[in-house]
Amino acid sequence: MPKTTAYQATIEHISILDEHANFDSELGEGVMTDEQALHLYEHMVNCRELDEVAFKLQRSGRMGTYPQNKGQEAAAVGVALALQKGKDWIVPSYRENAALFMHGLPMHYILMYWMGDERGSQMPEGVNVTPLSVPIGTHMLHATGIAWAEKLRKTDGVAATFFGDGATSEGDFHEAMNFASTLKVGVVFIGQNNGWAISVPRSKQMNSETLCQKALAYGMPTVRVDGNDIYAVHYAAKEAVARARAGEGPTFIECVTYRLGDHTTADDARRYRDEQEVEAWRNRDPILRVRKYLTAKGSWDDARDEALKAKAKKIVAEVVDAAINVTSPETTDFFDDMYASLPEDLRRQRETMRTSSLGQDPSQVGLNSAAVGQAASVEGR
């Protein structure tokens, strides 16, 4: 028997509510109630509104770089619905704001974060969310560790972590997946395959046609879903969370989606991708199809939709106010949380806002303070 089979695998693809709003009732049966779907719809709408407003804030100079989530809201809410607030953890990248809001993060925190304020990551008590991860691909290891702690304590909290197609190229992705699978801890890995990593398309990022096949390397259960379909995402997430909670280890879910906006406000996607491609994906918008489906079903109507959108505008306007009107951070803030208690030398730096030894101790022998005062007055001219 010279040639035998060393290994074999098949991975499923799941789609329930397709881009034409056709619903597969067999698979879709019981995935979520219409109320739940509306709840997710509302979150998606709020998030989209925030996204558009954030874009304008940046353009008008009131915010730094911001990465729009536009087009990827389904993956966020479909997963978040499967999680328990205050018990499970979300370890995010930066394109799943809606998941964080559902999990308890106040919306204005996200704006504060992108306005360059650490207090946007100062998670309120009980909000089990780690900060957005600007460095790509490095945070999933933390999710694995967080889930591991649950296992060690014999609690059944789950850690869900989001990341992009590009992030799967980092070594840390590999290590996070391998540790999670080997240690059999309850992580749900959500790979948001939006086809692009800034200007680099999937085909230059990897030679694999799918992200899901990467899970095979770790002997990890995996599935590929239509990432713009809240039902398909939730179907897979529910299963993965149940597996994790039961102590049966991690799952990898590939959500096939698309970034409708630029990479961030600092990017201009027209430099590298076709408008046609974007247009095609606009038609696959995760929000549109839910509205269509629920409207067709009679669970929703245009009037309610208008009201919802008006409410979204109001919510977001308040969120913007909250973010903009936050007290200015103190200069000393960046010292105060360096360590639980400040080492002497840092304390000196903090108090004097100086690193030079003469500046830190103007009364020292050898230093003619009077002369300094004189010079300083010249300096200020």
Binding site: G64, T65, Y113, W114, M115, G116, D117, E118, V134, P135, I136, G137, T138, G166, A167, S169, E170, G171, D172, A197, I198, S199, V200, K204, Q205, M206, A266, R271, Y272, P329, T331, D333, F334, F335, M338, D345, L346, Q349, R350, M353, R354, T355, S356, S357, L358, G359, P362, G366, L367, N368, S369, A371, V372, Q374, A375, A376, V378, E379, G380, R381
Partner: protein
Amino acid sequence: MATLNLVQAITLTLQQAMQADERVILLGEDVGLNGGVFRVTDGLQAQFGEHRVVDTPLAESGIIGTAIGLAINGMRPIPEIQFEGFLGPAYDQIVNHAARYRNRTRGAIPVPLTIRVPVGGGIHAPELHSDSPETIYAHSPGIKVVYPTTPSDAKGLLTAAIRDPDPVIFFEPKKVYRSFREEVSEDDYEIEIGKAKVVNEGSDLTIVTWGASLFECLGAMDNAPDDVDIELIDLRTIFPMDIDTIAESVEKTGRCIVVHEAPLTGGMGAEVSARIQERCFLHLEAPVQRVTGFDTIMPFYKLENEYLVDAKRIGSAIAETLAY
């Protein structure tokens, strides 16, 4: 001669290097069609093709590790790391591999490699986009660390780095990228790696600095009393350090301030200070002062200007050092 900003000067240098030497290739995240997030490689893929300006997968260790292999096998790769904060995942390949091959093979396998890295704060960027890790690499034997400030210095030093038979990290102060222009020769020229530049001659006090802080030093000098005569040195290369130029200056002035963005403790300011007192002990009239970043994480951008050294802090240090 052309009037170029720092970005343009670097683009021009890369273009000329690629024209002159087929072995030169660029690789990194978004360096191709997109021209790099700072547009430093803009137009180069169109000119030289997809094989010589390569968009790699998103993996810094992979970028440097494969660049090492390219260099071993006869190429002259110029990898770009998108921001200095993302040198982290590549640290091992730089410090334990690129830097060591020549030595551990007793010369048999050199690794000529130039790693381009935008560096430093001051552009209102997100987390991990504003650090100053030059000391980390200066303390890692086997690698040269170049950190120019002006367009013309950048051109000459980058040309030298690309031709250098050893690995070089080439830091580009991103705050300076488009902040000013100057005359830059389009001719081929090199500036020797390891030579500082006396930007301004003076006799009362020496300031040693590099990167974007140079302009804060100039600001402080402007504000200083007219009768204070300051010698300003742009270090330009962090390792090997041009201690001779510094020592010569401090022997003359007897007073010195070192200014850099990186945190105080263990920063290159300490090295400059230590060497000055080793070389100029009997000439020193005041302790060497360090005006640097604090020993904290670089804050998000709302507070970044509180962290960064500025003309005011430097000015105070000038006054104090002179009053000692």
